[in-house]
Protein backbone atom coordinates (compact mmCIF):
# COMPACT_ATOMS: atom_id res chain seq x y z
CA UNK A 1 0.00 0.00 0.00
CA UNK A 2 2.83 2.35 0.89
CA UNK A 3 4.39 1.50 -2.42
CA UNK A 4 1.21 2.41 -4.26
CA UNK A 5 0.97 5.74 -2.45
CA UNK A 6 4.57 6.59 -3.17
CA UNK A 7 4.19 5.69 -6.84
CA UNK A 8 1.03 7.74 -7.19
CA UNK A 9 2.73 10.80 -5.74
CA UNK A 10 5.70 10.42 -8.07
CA UNK A 11 3.40 10.02 -11.09
CA UNK A 12 1.48 13.16 -10.19
CA UNK A 13 4.69 15.07 -9.46
CA UNK A 14 6.15 14.12 -12.83
CA UNK A 15 3.04 15.25 -14.67
CA UNK A 16 2.98 18.49 -12.71
CA UNK A 17 6.64 19.18 -13.51
CA UNK A 18 6.15 18.42 -17.21
CA UNK A 19 3.03 20.54 -17.52
CA UNK A 20 4.68 23.42 -15.64
CA UNK A 21 7.85 23.29 -17.73
CA UNK A 22 5.90 23.15 -20.97
CA UNK A 23 3.65 25.99 -19.94
CA UNK A 24 6.62 28.05 -18.78
CA UNK A 25 8.52 27.33 -21.99
CA UNK A 26 5.71 28.58 -24.19
CA UNK A 27 5.15 31.60 -21.97
CA UNK A 28 8.72 32.86 -22.19
CA UNK A 29 9.40 32.40 -25.89
CA UNK A 30 9.41 35.48 -28.05
CA UNK A 31 6.39 35.90 -30.29
CA UNK A 32 2.88 36.60 -29.16
CA UNK A 33 0.04 34.21 -29.91
CA UNK A 34 -2.35 37.11 -30.45
CA UNK A 35 0.02 38.76 -32.91
CA UNK A 36 0.57 35.55 -34.81
CA UNK A 37 -3.17 34.97 -35.00
CA UNK A 38 -3.98 38.43 -36.33
CA UNK A 39 -0.85 39.01 -38.38
CA UNK A 40 1.63 41.85 -38.03
CA UNK A 41 -0.70 44.32 -39.79
CA UNK A 42 -3.23 44.35 -36.94
CA UNK A 43 -3.74 47.52 -34.92
CA UNK A 44 -2.41 47.58 -31.33
CA UNK A 45 -5.97 47.95 -30.01
CA UNK A 46 -7.18 44.80 -31.73
CA UNK A 47 -4.15 42.89 -30.47
CA UNK A 48 -4.75 44.14 -26.92
CA UNK A 49 -8.41 43.15 -27.18
CA UNK A 50 -7.55 39.66 -28.41
CA UNK A 51 -4.89 39.30 -25.73
CA UNK A 52 -7.49 40.07 -23.11
CA UNK A 53 -9.92 37.63 -24.71
CA UNK A 54 -7.30 34.88 -24.78
CA UNK A 55 -6.27 35.71 -21.22
CA UNK A 56 -2.72 36.53 -22.24
CA UNK A 57 -2.69 39.80 -20.28
CA UNK A 58 -2.96 38.05 -16.93
CA UNK A 59 0.08 37.11 -14.82
CA UNK A 60 1.83 33.84 -15.59
CA UNK A 61 0.87 31.91 -12.47
CA UNK A 62 -2.78 32.86 -12.77
CA UNK A 63 -2.79 31.57 -16.34
CA UNK A 64 -1.04 28.35 -15.39
CA UNK A 65 -3.43 27.82 -12.48
CA UNK A 66 -6.45 28.34 -14.70
CA UNK A 67 -5.06 26.11 -17.40
CA UNK A 68 -4.28 23.37 -14.88
CA UNK A 69 -7.73 23.52 -13.32
CA UNK A 70 -9.54 23.24 -16.62
CA UNK A 71 -7.06 20.62 -17.85
CA UNK A 72 -8.01 18.48 -14.86
CA UNK A 73 -11.58 18.67 -16.09
CA UNK A 74 -10.40 17.58 -19.53
CA UNK A 75 -10.67 21.02 -21.09
CA UNK A 76 -7.45 22.12 -22.78
CA UNK A 77 -8.85 25.25 -24.38
CA UNK A 78 -9.40 25.99 -28.04
CA UNK A 79 -7.01 25.45 -30.90
CA UNK A 80 -5.82 28.72 -32.48
CA UNK A 81 -5.77 27.40 -36.01
CA UNK A 82 -8.56 24.80 -36.09
CA UNK A 83 -11.01 26.74 -33.92
CA UNK A 84 -12.09 23.42 -32.42
CA UNK A 85 -11.69 22.42 -28.79
CA UNK A 86 -8.31 20.80 -28.21
CA UNK A 87 -9.77 17.79 -26.43
CA UNK A 88 -12.05 17.01 -29.36
CA UNK A 89 -9.16 17.34 -31.77
CA UNK A 90 -7.00 15.00 -29.70
CA UNK A 91 -9.91 12.65 -29.19
CA UNK A 92 -10.13 12.12 -32.95
CA UNK A 93 -6.41 11.56 -33.47
CA UNK A 94 -5.35 9.67 -30.38
CA UNK A 95 -6.94 6.29 -31.25
CA UNK A 96 -5.04 6.29 -34.55
CA UNK A 97 -1.63 6.84 -32.95
CA UNK A 98 -2.38 4.39 -30.15
CA UNK A 99 -3.47 1.77 -32.69
CA UNK A 100 -0.23 2.30 -34.61
CA UNK A 101 1.92 2.06 -31.47
CA UNK A 102 0.12 -0.99 -30.11
CA UNK A 103 0.26 -2.73 -33.47
CA UNK A 104 3.99 -2.17 -33.80
CA UNK A 105 4.48 -3.28 -30.20
CA UNK A 106 2.62 -6.52 -30.88
CA UNK A 107 4.64 -7.16 -34.03
CA UNK A 108 7.78 -6.57 -32.04
CA UNK A 109 6.84 -8.98 -29.23
CA UNK A 110 5.75 -11.70 -31.63
CA UNK A 111 9.04 -11.51 -33.55
CA UNK A 112 11.56 -10.56 -30.90
CA UNK A 113 10.84 -12.99 -28.08
CA UNK A 114 11.03 -16.24 -30.09
CA UNK A 115 14.11 -14.93 -31.91
CA UNK A 116 15.77 -13.93 -28.64
CA UNK A 117 15.11 -17.33 -27.08
CA UNK A 118 16.25 -19.15 -30.21
CA UNK A 119 19.52 -17.24 -30.53
CA UNK A 120 20.31 -17.67 -26.83
CA UNK A 121 19.61 -21.40 -27.00
CA UNK A 122 21.83 -21.83 -30.06
CA UNK A 123 24.53 -19.36 -29.03
CA UNK A 124 27.43 -19.46 -31.48
CA UNK A 125 25.50 -21.49 -34.06
CA UNK A 126 25.41 -20.47 -37.71
CA UNK A 127 21.87 -19.08 -37.62
CA UNK A 128 22.58 -17.24 -34.37
CA UNK A 129 25.56 -15.52 -35.96
CA UNK A 130 23.61 -14.57 -39.07
CA UNK A 131 20.77 -13.19 -36.97
CA UNK A 132 23.17 -11.16 -34.84
CA UNK A 133 24.84 -9.61 -37.89
CA UNK A 134 21.48 -8.78 -39.47
CA UNK A 135 20.44 -7.38 -36.10
CA UNK A 136 23.38 -5.03 -35.97
CA UNK A 137 22.61 -3.69 -39.44
CA UNK A 138 18.86 -3.34 -38.81
CA UNK A 139 19.58 -1.34 -35.66
CA UNK A 140 21.52 1.17 -37.74
CA UNK A 141 18.70 1.86 -40.21
CA UNK A 142 16.92 5.12 -39.37
CA UNK A 143 13.20 4.36 -38.96
CA UNK A 144 12.04 6.79 -41.62
CA UNK A 145 14.50 5.33 -44.11
CA UNK A 146 13.10 1.85 -43.49
CA UNK A 147 9.66 3.46 -43.81
CA UNK A 148 10.60 4.85 -47.22
CA UNK A 149 12.05 1.48 -48.28
CA UNK A 150 8.90 -0.33 -47.16
CA UNK A 151 6.83 2.17 -49.14
CA UNK A 152 9.01 1.50 -52.16
CA UNK A 153 9.10 -2.29 -51.97
CA UNK A 154 5.61 -3.13 -50.69
CA UNK A 155 3.79 -0.06 -51.92
CA UNK A 156 5.28 0.68 -55.32
CA UNK A 157 6.90 -2.57 -56.47
CA UNK A 158 4.66 -5.26 -54.95
CA UNK A 159 1.56 -3.03 -54.68
CA UNK A 160 0.45 -4.62 -51.38
CA UNK A 161 -0.85 -1.24 -50.30
CA UNK A 162 -1.26 2.14 -51.88
CA UNK A 163 0.94 4.78 -50.23
CA UNK A 164 -1.03 7.82 -49.15
CA UNK A 165 -4.42 6.10 -49.17
CA UNK A 166 -4.86 6.11 -45.39
CA UNK A 167 -8.46 5.77 -44.19
CA UNK A 168 -9.55 6.45 -40.63
CA UNK A 169 -10.90 3.65 -38.45
CA UNK A 170 -14.27 5.38 -38.45
CA UNK A 171 -14.56 4.81 -42.21
CA UNK A 172 -13.31 1.26 -42.63
CA UNK A 173 -11.66 -0.64 -39.80
CA UNK A 174 -10.25 -3.39 -42.00
CA UNK A 175 -8.56 -1.07 -44.45
CA UNK A 176 -7.38 1.11 -41.57
CA UNK A 177 -5.55 -1.82 -39.95
CA UNK A 178 -4.25 -3.11 -43.28
CA UNK A 179 -2.71 0.27 -44.03
CA UNK A 180 -1.28 0.68 -40.52
CA UNK A 181 0.46 -2.68 -40.78
CA UNK A 182 3.22 -1.21 -42.98
CA UNK A 183 4.18 1.79 -40.82
CA UNK A 184 3.92 -0.53 -37.81
CA UNK A 185 6.48 -2.91 -39.30
CA UNK A 186 8.76 0.04 -40.05
CA UNK A 187 8.54 1.23 -36.45
CA UNK A 188 8.98 -2.27 -35.06
CA UNK A 189 12.05 -3.31 -37.10
CA UNK A 190 14.84 -1.57 -35.15
CA UNK A 191 13.10 -2.35 -31.86
CA UNK A 192 12.94 -6.05 -32.74
CA UNK A 193 16.69 -6.00 -33.29
CA UNK A 194 17.35 -4.27 -29.96
CA UNK A 195 15.06 -6.56 -28.01
CA UNK A 196 16.52 -9.73 -29.53
CA UNK A 197 19.98 -8.54 -28.59
CA UNK A 198 19.00 -7.67 -25.03
CA UNK A 199 16.94 -10.80 -24.41
CA UNK A 200 19.68 -12.99 -25.83
CA UNK A 201 22.40 -11.56 -23.62
CA UNK A 202 20.11 -11.48 -20.61
CA UNK A 203 19.24 -15.18 -21.10
CA UNK A 204 22.86 -16.18 -21.62
CA UNK A 205 23.87 -14.37 -18.45
CA UNK A 206 21.10 -15.95 -16.38
CA UNK A 207 21.90 -19.42 -17.67
CA UNK A 208 25.36 -19.20 -16.11
CA UNK A 209 24.00 -18.78 -12.57
CA UNK A 210 24.08 -21.46 -9.89
CA UNK A 211 20.36 -22.00 -9.59
CA UNK A 212 20.30 -23.18 -13.19
CA UNK A 213 22.79 -25.92 -12.40
CA UNK A 214 20.64 -26.89 -9.41
CA UNK A 215 17.56 -27.04 -11.61
CA UNK A 216 19.38 -29.30 -14.07
CA UNK A 217 20.73 -31.53 -11.31
CA UNK A 218 17.18 -32.06 -10.10
CA UNK A 219 16.51 -33.76 -13.41
CA UNK A 220 14.75 -30.99 -15.37
CA UNK A 221 15.02 -30.94 -19.11
CA UNK A 222 16.56 -28.03 -20.98
CA UNK A 223 13.22 -26.57 -22.00
CA UNK A 224 11.83 -26.88 -18.49
CA UNK A 225 14.77 -25.00 -17.03
CA UNK A 226 14.67 -22.45 -19.79
CA UNK A 227 11.00 -21.57 -19.65
CA UNK A 228 10.25 -22.08 -15.96
CA UNK A 229 13.41 -20.66 -14.41
CA UNK A 230 15.72 -18.74 -16.69
CA UNK A 231 13.19 -16.90 -18.85
CA UNK A 232 11.33 -15.56 -15.82
CA UNK A 233 14.47 -14.00 -14.41
CA UNK A 234 15.84 -12.86 -17.74
CA UNK A 235 12.58 -11.04 -18.53
CA UNK A 236 13.03 -8.46 -15.78
CA UNK A 237 15.56 -6.20 -17.52
CA UNK A 238 13.67 -6.86 -20.76
CA UNK A 239 10.36 -5.62 -19.34
CA UNK A 240 11.90 -2.34 -18.21
CA UNK A 241 13.39 -2.05 -21.67
CA UNK A 242 10.07 -2.86 -23.35
CA UNK A 243 8.37 -0.08 -21.42
CA UNK A 244 10.96 2.36 -22.70
CA UNK A 245 10.53 0.90 -26.17
CA UNK A 246 6.79 1.47 -26.13
CA UNK A 247 7.26 5.14 -25.32
CA UNK A 248 9.92 5.29 -28.02
CA UNK A 249 7.42 3.79 -30.43
CA UNK A 250 4.98 6.58 -29.74
CA UNK A 251 7.76 9.02 -30.59
CA UNK A 252 8.62 6.88 -33.60
CA UNK A 253 5.05 7.03 -34.82
CA UNK A 254 5.34 10.83 -34.93
CA UNK A 255 7.83 10.38 -37.77
CA UNK A 256 6.19 7.35 -39.32
CA UNK A 257 2.84 9.14 -39.51
CA UNK A 258 4.61 11.69 -41.67
CA UNK A 259 6.26 9.06 -43.88
CA UNK A 260 3.02 7.18 -44.51
CA UNK A 261 0.74 10.24 -44.19
CA UNK A 262 -1.31 8.82 -41.35
CA UNK A 263 -3.43 11.51 -39.68
CA UNK A 264 -2.58 10.84 -36.03
CA UNK A 265 -1.32 12.74 -33.00
CA UNK A 266 2.15 13.05 -34.51
CA UNK A 267 1.00 14.97 -37.56
CA UNK A 268 -1.19 17.10 -35.33
CA UNK A 269 1.83 17.89 -33.15
CA UNK A 270 4.08 18.74 -36.10
CA UNK A 271 1.53 20.96 -37.81
CA UNK A 272 0.72 22.69 -34.50
CA UNK A 273 4.39 23.34 -33.87
CA UNK A 274 4.76 24.84 -37.35
CA UNK A 275 1.68 27.04 -36.95
CA UNK A 276 2.54 27.92 -33.31
CA UNK A 277 -0.77 26.55 -32.09
CA UNK A 278 0.35 26.38 -28.46
CA UNK A 279 -2.79 25.07 -26.74
CA UNK A 280 -2.61 21.99 -28.96
CA UNK A 281 1.15 21.53 -28.50
CA UNK A 282 0.86 21.82 -24.71
CA UNK A 283 -2.02 19.39 -24.49
CA UNK A 284 -0.38 16.82 -26.78
CA UNK A 285 2.87 16.94 -24.81
CA UNK A 286 1.16 16.56 -21.45
CA UNK A 287 -0.88 13.71 -22.85
CA UNK A 288 2.22 11.97 -24.19
CA UNK A 289 3.88 12.48 -20.80
CA UNK A 290 0.86 10.83 -19.17
CA UNK A 291 1.15 7.83 -21.48
CA UNK A 292 4.89 7.57 -20.86
CA UNK A 293 4.44 7.72 -17.09
CA UNK A 294 1.62 5.16 -17.10
CA UNK A 295 3.57 2.71 -19.25
CA UNK A 296 6.59 2.98 -16.96
CA UNK A 297 4.32 2.46 -13.96
CA UNK A 298 2.86 -0.66 -15.53
CA UNK A 299 6.35 -2.03 -16.15
CA UNK A 300 7.29 -1.34 -12.53
CA UNK A 301 4.26 -3.20 -11.24
CA UNK A 302 4.90 -6.12 -13.59
CA UNK A 303 8.52 -6.40 -12.49
CA UNK A 304 7.47 -6.48 -8.85
CA UNK A 305 4.98 -9.20 -9.59
CA UNK A 306 7.63 -11.30 -11.34
CA UNK A 307 10.44 -10.70 -8.87
CA UNK A 308 9.69 -10.82 -5.15
CA UNK A 309 13.19 -9.49 -4.42
CA UNK A 310 12.24 -6.03 -5.70
CA UNK A 311 9.40 -5.87 -3.19
CA UNK A 312 11.79 -5.83 -0.25
Amino acid sequence: MRYAGKKLISVLATLLIVSFLVFLAFAVIPGDAAVSKLGTQATPERIAALRAEMGLDRPFFVRYGNWLLSALKGDFGKSYSYGESVSALIGQKLPITLALSVLSFLIMIVCAIPLGIYTAKHEGGALDRIIMVVNQVVMAVPPFFSGIMITYVFGLLLKWFQPGSFVSYTVNLGRFLHYLLFPAVAIALPKIAMTVKLLRSSLIQEAKKDYVRTAYSKGNRTNGVLYRHVLKNAMIPVITFLAMTFTDMIAGSVIMEQVFSVAGIGRLLISSISSRDYPVVEAVIVLLALIVVLVNLAADVLCRALDPRIRH
Binding site: T247, I255, I285
Partner: protein
Amino acid sequence: MQKRKKGNAGFIAGCVITGMMLTLTVIGFFYTPYDPEAMSAADKLAGISPRHIMGCDNFGRDIFSRVLKGAQTTLIVAGGTVLIGTVFGVLIGAFTGYFGGIVDEALMRVMDALFAFPSLLLALVFVSLFNSGTYQVILALGIAFIPSFSRIVRSEYLRCRNLDYVKSARLAGASHLRIMFVHILPNIYTVLLSSIMIGFNNAVLAEAGLTYLGIGVQPPDASLGEMLSNAQTYLFSAPWYAFGPGITMVLLILGFSLMADGLKH
Protein backbone atom coordinates in the same frame (compact mmCIF):
# COMPACT_ATOMS: atom_id res chain seq x y z
CA MET B 1 37.87 -16.36 -25.46
CA GLN B 2 35.98 -16.71 -28.68
CA LYS B 3 33.55 -14.04 -27.54
CA ARG B 4 36.37 -11.56 -27.00
CA LYS B 5 37.64 -12.18 -30.50
CA LYS B 6 34.20 -11.59 -31.94
CA GLY B 7 33.86 -8.33 -30.02
CA ASN B 8 37.19 -7.18 -31.40
CA ALA B 9 36.21 -8.05 -34.96
CA GLY B 10 33.09 -5.91 -34.58
CA PHE B 11 35.13 -3.11 -33.07
CA ILE B 12 37.63 -3.19 -35.93
CA ALA B 13 34.83 -3.26 -38.52
CA GLY B 14 33.28 -0.28 -36.74
CA CYS B 15 36.57 1.62 -36.80
CA VAL B 16 37.04 0.90 -40.50
CA ILE B 17 33.51 2.03 -41.43
CA THR B 18 33.67 5.13 -39.24
CA GLY B 19 37.15 5.98 -40.49
CA MET B 20 35.99 5.67 -44.08
CA MET B 21 32.92 7.83 -43.51
CA LEU B 22 34.89 10.48 -41.62
CA THR B 23 37.56 10.59 -44.32
CA LEU B 24 34.93 11.05 -47.01
CA THR B 25 33.26 13.78 -44.99
CA VAL B 26 36.53 15.62 -44.45
CA ILE B 27 37.38 15.32 -48.15
CA GLY B 28 33.96 16.83 -48.83
CA PHE B 29 35.12 20.06 -47.20
CA PHE B 30 37.77 20.53 -49.88
CA TYR B 31 36.57 18.61 -52.89
CA THR B 32 33.30 17.32 -54.28
CA PRO B 33 33.06 15.74 -57.75
CA TYR B 34 30.48 18.35 -58.78
CA ASP B 35 29.29 21.60 -57.28
CA PRO B 36 26.58 20.37 -54.87
CA GLU B 37 24.37 23.35 -55.80
CA ALA B 38 24.91 23.22 -59.58
CA MET B 39 21.65 22.36 -61.35
CA SER B 40 21.44 20.78 -64.76
CA ALA B 41 18.22 20.22 -66.65
CA ALA B 42 19.78 17.48 -68.77
CA ASP B 43 20.66 15.38 -65.71
CA LYS B 44 17.28 15.71 -64.00
CA LEU B 45 16.70 12.48 -62.00
CA ALA B 46 19.51 10.79 -63.93
CA GLY B 47 20.17 7.25 -62.76
CA ILE B 48 23.28 5.72 -61.29
CA SER B 49 26.14 5.91 -63.80
CA PRO B 50 29.95 6.18 -63.73
CA ARG B 51 29.54 9.95 -64.00
CA HIS B 52 27.09 10.20 -61.12
CA ILE B 53 27.71 7.29 -58.75
CA MET B 54 24.56 7.99 -56.73
CA GLY B 55 22.55 9.51 -59.56
CA CYS B 56 21.05 12.99 -59.72
CA ASP B 57 18.17 14.67 -57.90
CA ASN B 58 15.12 16.47 -59.29
CA PHE B 59 17.20 19.57 -60.08
CA GLY B 60 19.91 17.55 -61.80
CA ARG B 61 22.29 18.04 -58.87
CA ASP B 62 24.85 15.30 -58.24
CA ILE B 63 23.54 13.29 -55.26
CA PHE B 64 26.98 12.04 -54.17
CA SER B 65 28.30 15.61 -53.86
CA ARG B 66 25.21 16.60 -51.90
CA VAL B 67 25.53 13.55 -49.65
CA LEU B 68 29.10 14.63 -48.81
CA LYS B 69 27.83 18.10 -47.85
CA GLY B 70 24.85 16.63 -46.00
CA ALA B 71 27.07 14.29 -44.01
CA GLN B 72 29.05 17.33 -42.87
CA THR B 73 25.94 19.02 -41.55
CA THR B 74 24.89 15.81 -39.85
CA LEU B 75 28.31 15.33 -38.23
CA ILE B 76 28.47 18.96 -37.09
CA VAL B 77 25.00 18.77 -35.56
CA ALA B 78 25.66 15.41 -33.92
CA GLY B 79 29.07 16.53 -32.65
CA GLY B 80 27.70 19.76 -31.20
CA THR B 81 24.79 17.93 -29.61
CA VAL B 82 27.01 15.36 -27.95
CA LEU B 83 29.38 18.11 -26.79
CA ILE B 84 26.60 20.04 -25.05
CA GLY B 85 25.09 16.86 -23.63
CA THR B 86 28.43 15.54 -22.36
CA VAL B 87 29.74 18.76 -20.81
CA PHE B 88 26.55 19.56 -18.92
CA GLY B 89 25.78 15.91 -18.27
CA VAL B 90 29.21 15.36 -16.70
CA LEU B 91 28.95 18.52 -14.60
CA ILE B 92 25.47 17.75 -13.32
CA GLY B 93 26.13 14.04 -12.92
CA ALA B 94 29.44 14.59 -11.14
CA PHE B 95 28.11 17.05 -8.59
CA THR B 96 24.88 15.20 -7.86
CA GLY B 97 26.47 11.77 -7.76
CA TYR B 98 29.48 12.84 -5.72
CA PHE B 99 27.76 14.99 -3.12
CA GLY B 100 24.29 13.48 -3.06
CA GLY B 101 21.80 15.11 -0.71
CA ILE B 102 18.72 17.15 -1.36
CA VAL B 103 20.00 18.92 -4.48
CA ASP B 104 20.69 15.51 -5.98
CA GLU B 105 17.20 14.30 -5.13
CA ALA B 106 15.51 17.36 -6.62
CA LEU B 107 17.63 17.48 -9.76
CA MET B 108 17.22 13.79 -10.38
CA ARG B 109 13.43 14.06 -10.11
CA VAL B 110 13.49 16.76 -12.79
CA MET B 111 15.87 14.65 -14.89
CA ASP B 112 13.61 11.61 -14.44
CA ALA B 113 10.68 13.63 -15.66
CA LEU B 114 12.67 14.74 -18.69
CA PHE B 115 14.22 11.33 -19.21
CA ALA B 116 10.81 9.73 -19.33
CA PHE B 117 10.42 11.59 -22.59
CA PRO B 118 11.84 10.11 -25.77
CA SER B 119 14.62 12.48 -26.82
CA LEU B 120 13.01 13.11 -30.19
CA LEU B 121 9.86 14.48 -28.54
CA LEU B 122 11.94 16.58 -26.18
CA ALA B 123 13.89 17.94 -29.12
CA LEU B 124 10.60 18.71 -30.89
CA VAL B 125 9.54 20.82 -27.92
CA PHE B 126 12.82 22.70 -27.86
CA VAL B 127 12.82 23.24 -31.62
CA SER B 128 9.36 24.74 -31.35
CA LEU B 129 10.83 27.11 -28.76
CA PHE B 130 14.01 28.06 -30.61
CA ASN B 131 12.73 27.85 -34.21
CA SER B 132 14.43 25.76 -36.86
CA GLY B 133 17.95 26.12 -38.22
CA THR B 134 21.26 24.34 -37.76
CA TYR B 135 22.38 26.04 -34.52
CA GLN B 136 18.94 25.90 -33.00
CA VAL B 137 18.79 22.17 -33.68
CA ILE B 138 22.18 21.67 -32.01
CA LEU B 139 20.98 23.60 -28.96
CA ALA B 140 17.63 21.79 -28.84
CA LEU B 141 19.12 18.33 -29.22
CA GLY B 142 21.97 19.17 -26.84
CA ILE B 143 19.56 20.11 -24.07
CA ALA B 144 17.42 17.09 -24.83
CA PHE B 145 20.46 14.84 -24.36
CA ILE B 146 21.59 16.23 -21.00
CA PRO B 147 19.29 14.07 -18.84
CA SER B 148 20.51 10.74 -20.20
CA PHE B 149 24.18 11.70 -19.92
CA SER B 150 23.83 13.09 -16.42
CA ARG B 151 22.07 9.93 -15.29
CA ILE B 152 24.84 7.69 -16.55
CA VAL B 153 27.58 9.91 -15.10
CA ARG B 154 25.76 10.23 -11.79
CA SER B 155 25.49 6.50 -11.29
CA GLU B 156 29.20 6.13 -12.05
CA TYR B 157 30.13 8.79 -9.49
CA LEU B 158 27.79 7.19 -6.99
CA ARG B 159 29.62 3.90 -7.49
CA CYS B 160 33.08 5.45 -7.30
CA ARG B 161 32.76 7.93 -4.47
CA ASN B 162 33.42 5.40 -1.72
CA LEU B 163 36.09 3.38 -3.48
CA ASP B 164 39.50 3.12 -1.87
CA TYR B 165 41.35 5.29 -4.33
CA VAL B 166 38.94 8.14 -3.72
CA LYS B 167 39.27 7.74 0.04
CA SER B 168 43.05 7.77 -0.13
CA ALA B 169 43.01 10.82 -2.38
CA ARG B 170 40.87 12.56 0.18
CA LEU B 171 43.26 11.52 2.96
CA ALA B 172 46.10 12.93 0.91
CA GLY B 173 44.32 16.26 1.05
CA ALA B 174 42.94 16.49 -2.50
CA SER B 175 40.07 18.95 -2.90
CA HIS B 176 36.62 17.68 -3.92
CA LEU B 177 36.92 19.28 -7.34
CA ARG B 178 40.29 17.61 -7.89
CA ILE B 179 38.91 14.23 -6.84
CA MET B 180 35.89 14.63 -9.09
CA PHE B 181 37.67 15.64 -12.26
CA VAL B 182 41.26 14.44 -11.90
CA HIS B 183 40.73 11.18 -10.04
CA ILE B 184 37.26 9.85 -10.82
CA LEU B 185 36.67 11.20 -14.33
CA PRO B 186 39.59 9.29 -15.97
CA ASN B 187 38.31 6.13 -14.31
CA ILE B 188 34.89 6.26 -15.90
CA TYR B 189 36.02 7.16 -19.39
CA THR B 190 35.08 3.81 -21.00
CA VAL B 191 31.50 4.16 -19.80
CA LEU B 192 31.48 7.77 -20.89
CA LEU B 193 33.03 7.02 -24.28
CA SER B 194 30.54 4.31 -25.19
CA SER B 195 27.62 6.48 -24.09
CA ILE B 196 29.05 9.32 -26.16
CA MET B 197 29.03 7.05 -29.21
CA ILE B 198 25.51 5.87 -28.57
CA GLY B 199 24.52 9.49 -27.98
CA PHE B 200 26.18 10.40 -31.25
CA ASN B 201 24.04 7.85 -33.09
CA ASN B 202 20.89 9.06 -31.41
CA ALA B 203 21.83 12.60 -32.39
CA VAL B 204 22.32 11.59 -36.03
CA LEU B 205 18.91 9.91 -35.97
CA ALA B 206 17.20 12.79 -34.19
CA GLU B 207 18.68 15.43 -36.49
CA ALA B 208 17.69 13.50 -39.59
CA GLY B 209 14.24 12.92 -38.11
CA LEU B 210 13.66 16.58 -37.29
CA THR B 211 14.93 17.68 -40.68
CA TYR B 212 12.80 15.06 -42.37
CA LEU B 213 9.79 16.54 -40.58
CA GLY B 214 10.78 19.94 -41.96
CA ILE B 215 11.56 21.55 -38.61
CA GLY B 216 15.29 20.82 -38.36
CA VAL B 217 18.16 22.04 -40.50
CA GLN B 218 16.81 24.36 -43.18
CA PRO B 219 17.81 24.75 -46.84
CA PRO B 220 20.18 25.90 -48.30
CA ASP B 221 22.14 23.78 -45.78
CA ALA B 222 22.25 20.29 -47.31
CA SER B 223 21.19 17.56 -44.91
CA LEU B 224 20.63 13.85 -45.25
CA GLY B 225 17.18 14.11 -43.66
CA GLU B 226 16.11 16.82 -46.09
CA MET B 227 17.37 14.78 -49.06
CA LEU B 228 15.41 11.75 -47.92
CA SER B 229 12.27 13.77 -47.47
CA ASN B 230 12.64 15.12 -51.04
CA ALA B 231 13.50 11.68 -52.34
CA GLN B 232 10.19 10.32 -51.12
CA THR B 233 8.35 12.42 -53.70
CA TYR B 234 10.32 10.80 -56.52
CA LEU B 235 10.38 7.32 -55.04
CA PHE B 236 8.66 5.76 -58.01
CA SER B 237 10.60 7.42 -60.82
CA ALA B 238 13.98 7.69 -59.08
CA PRO B 239 14.39 5.30 -56.14
CA TRP B 240 18.18 5.83 -56.15
CA TYR B 241 17.59 9.34 -54.82
CA ALA B 242 16.65 7.70 -51.50
CA PHE B 243 19.35 5.02 -51.59
CA GLY B 244 22.37 7.36 -51.52
CA PRO B 245 21.55 9.45 -48.44
CA GLY B 246 19.83 6.51 -46.72
CA ILE B 247 22.71 4.09 -47.03
CA THR B 248 25.17 6.81 -46.02
CA MET B 249 23.23 7.29 -42.81
CA VAL B 250 23.08 3.55 -42.15
CA LEU B 251 26.87 3.27 -42.52
CA LEU B 252 27.50 6.26 -40.24
CA ILE B 253 25.33 4.82 -37.49
CA LEU B 254 26.54 1.25 -37.97
CA GLY B 255 30.17 2.31 -37.59
CA PHE B 256 29.63 4.09 -34.31
CA SER B 257 27.38 1.42 -32.83
CA LEU B 258 29.91 -1.32 -33.64
CA MET B 259 32.61 0.76 -31.97
CA ALA B 260 30.45 1.41 -28.91
CA ASP B 261 29.71 -2.31 -28.62
CA GLY B 262 33.38 -3.19 -28.97
CA LEU B 263 34.32 -0.75 -26.19
CA LYS B 264 32.01 -2.48 -23.75
CA HIS B 265 33.81 -5.82 -24.14
